[in-house]
């Protein structure tokens, strides 16, 4: 039976903010640029197609612009391991991965591959890294892999895609009605029952329901519903005082175990800073346990009292915290297990590690410890292409499958990105797919460059010619300069026509708006982008003053009496002597983006 690891403190929720990476993870990588097979060919990618794409990257000179990674996504492995090892699907990749890696490296490019922290890959092959990290790390090093994208399907410890829905038992605490403290110091066994509804509740996921607390855990961030900003994971905190030092008590919890999103069976209990319990509370309700034939898992059990646990309280005020941070901790640990093996083999490896857990466990909080970037939502398109079909992308959709859904979330996540951490990843570019026109593709590129997203081309490059509109977008040197600026600062939204409070923190999903983004660049330059997110033309005066920008960025933005202003899409250069940057109209889905250089 697979069980989550006992965890070291360095991957606990309490360590998420300490800024420390695991296993010597190398940092200071700018956002990765390259081509990934998924949006172009789905699981139908082949060795022949990949070689043609590598050829096209060099033929078009995209490598000189920074596009260096060629990444095989899902669909390249045999459906099962061979002698415990990963192996190439022989019809699609007849020469094997090392030969393809050599081909790509010989062109001066870098080679990327794909796997999954679960038991299977999303396309079904039973070759996930879960429990096979050591041998897989060896394979990847042998194959000369420079980039790894690792997915989250069939994950055994959360209710992820294709996982058992009852795995929610791992990721949420039970409903809590009360705790009971029994004084064991003087054998009096004096009992004190503390109702949960009177305790302190932190975070925003849990809530009071009748006489109990429910939802102790964190949001599922796969869909676009929940904001990435603020404390998302909840804790239930009892404040208790003790009259004597090291006073001995027993604690019992009145709980209702479940196996549904919001109500689980795994509880963490901390007394002051010491974690004293971290396990399933009800030993019969464990998803991985085999059921009797015909027996169905119950979604919710009746309330009951737990077995007693012995604790010690210090004299004076104490906190007893009930929580379950395992949704985030387990996922971090699973990504860390592969990193550990890669680092064991080659401690100096610079493999770019891309977490693709779809924002489910709020990786913006923890992924910097092990990865270089982290997906923030489910996929940007589910209508991927195949050989001869460019696939389909959308500007707006209710779910994650559009440029604007991804952008709406990423644009307020600048606090999580940086050279010391890594990058928010709103998924691969859809430039060149059906469904998006030239203007939308240009703005898509601008958005991804301003928010320091990895730039992964997702189209069949045989459709691109030097100088055509697709080429002119993906090869725009000023846009790429913004994305690859050495400071590595993600743009901040400094203004939105729909803002109510703080534009850089507020999660705005209505696209009927204009956003203004500012991004500091090296040498005192900065980029400013006016983005019409809506599908309607906007005739509106939007003006941002340098003083307002400096309020948000301080000395990262230099004040001058004159500025040189270059429109990155027209190349037009003008001079600004007012320090006020303004536009009066923007076409639907268009952007006006400038690199501003203080000159006096």
């Amino acid at each position: 039976m697979l069980t989550p690891d006992r965890l070291e403190n360095d991957r606990r929720f309490s360590a998420f903010d300490n800024g420390e990476v695991l296993y010597n993870k190398k940092k200071n990588h700018l956002p990765a640029m390259g081509w990934n097979s998924w949006n172009a060919f789905g699981s139908g990618n082949t060795e022949a197609l990949t070689k043609v794409m590598a050829d096209k990257i060099t033929e078009l000179g995209l490598d000189k612009l920074g596009y260096e990674y060629v990444i095989l996504d899902d669909g390249c492995y045999k459906p099962e391991r061979v002698d415990g090892r990963l192996s190439n699907e022989e019809n699609k990749f007849p020469s094997g991965f090392k030969a393809l890696s050599d081909y790509i490296h010989d062109k001066g490019l870098k080679f990327g591959m794909y796997n999954d922290i679960g038991t299977n890959l999303c396309a079904g092959a039973a070759v996930g890294t879960c429990g096979h990290e050591k041998e897989d790390a060896k394979s990847y090093i042998e194959w000369g892999v420079d980039f790894l994208k690792v997915d989250n399907c069939y994950y055994p410890f959360d209710n992820a895609t294709f996982s058992n829905p009852e795995n929610a038992a791992y990721t949420f605490a039970p409903n809590i009605r009360a705790i009971k403290l029994v004084d064991k110091a003087d054998n009096s066994d004096t009992e004190c029952i503390l109702p949960a509804v009177e305790a302190e509740l932190t975070g925003s996921r849990a809530s009071i329901e009748d006489d109990h607390i429910t939802g102790l855990g964190t949001f599922d961030g796969t869909g676009p519903e929940s904001s990435p900003v603020g404390i998302r994971s909840s804790e239930l905190i009892f404040h208790v005082s003790a009259a004597a030092e090291m006073a001995e008590y027993e604690i019992e919890v009145e709980y209702q175990a479940g196996a549904i999103e919001g109500v689980g069976n795994w509880l963490q209990i901390a007394v002051n800073d010491e974690l004293i319990f971290d396990d399933f509370l009800n030993k019969d309700m464990i998803p991985a346990l085999k059921k009797e034939e015909g027996e169905e898992e119950k979604a919710l059990l009746p309330f009951t009292w737990s077995e007693p646990l012995r604790i010690k309280l210090k004299k004076g005020e104490n906190t007893i915290r009930l929580m379950n941070h395992r949704r985030q901790e387990n996922t971090l640990n699973s990504y860390a297990r592969l990193l550990k093996e890669l680092s064991n083999i080659n401690p100096d490896n610079e493999i770019i590690y891309s977490a693709c857990e779809w924002g489910k466990t709020h990786p913006q909080n923890w992924a910097y410890k092990v990865c270089d970037s982290w997906r923030i939502l489910n996929d940007i398109t589910f209508r991927v292409g195949s050989d001869g079909d460019p696939g389909h992308g959308a500007w707006v959709e209710d779910y994650t499958t559009s440029v604007t859904t991804q952008y709406n979330k990423a644009v307020i996540m600048d606090e999580f990105a940086g050279l010391e951490r890594g990058w928010n990843d709103p998924d691969m570019l859809m430039i060149g797919m059906n469904g998006l026109d030239e203007t939308q593709c240009r703005t898509h590129m601008t958005m991804w460059c301003m928010i320091n997203s990895p730039l992964m081309l997702g189209l069949d490059l045989r459709r691109v010619q030097k100088g055509d509109w697709i080429y002119n977008i993906i090869a725009n040197k000023d846009a790429i300069r913004i994305n690859q600026d050495a400071l590595g600062i993600q743009a901040k939204r400094v203004y939105s026509t729909l803002q109510k409070t703080e534009p850089d923190k507020e999660y705005i999903r209505d696209i009927d708006r204009i956003d203004v983004l500012v991004k500091p660049l090296v040498n005192g330059d900065f980029a400013i982008s006016f983005i019409n997110v809506s599908k309607e033309d906007k005739n509106q005066n939007i003006r941002i003053d340098i003083d307002k920008i400096r309020e948000l960025f301080g000395d990262k933005i230099r004040k001058a009496s004159k500025y040189s202003v270059k429109n990155i899409w027209t190349g037009e250069v003008s001079e600004n002597a007012t320090g006020a940057f303004e536009v009066t109209s923007i076409k639907a889905c268009d952007n006006l983006t400038f690199i501003v250089t203080p000159i006096a």
Partner: protein, 135 residues
Amino acid sequence: MNIEAFIDYIISEYEMAHSDKNDIDIDHFWKEVMSYFSEDMLGSPVNKKSAARILYAFSRIVLKLPNLDWIRAKKLRDIYECRVCAEAIAQMYERGIIDGVGPCIFGINDTMKAEELRMAVDKIVQINTNIIWSL
């Protein structure tokens, strides 16, 4: 009917219905779908998402059917739970080869009965590609 038997059934039904069959395409289809499933999975019952993936591969590789735009399929809430089968589900749903369990749910993990699988195969092998192309 398990997944392996379902794949064999599609090929045999198509070969019976089309004397002008293209063996290269059928071989390509077989290799493609065999790459989706491990040995264990081939012996499992066919759920709706797997049926959709197999039939979609058949429609592309053997029947050369173009993709339809997503109209009704956009309303299927569970389609986004499967990134590798979303297009397949949408295409089979739009063409009426596999129905949903309601107007907004496809039922991606529901097991299909042998009779339902045979009906889906009947529908797809009978598609006249000339008519579809001219639509």
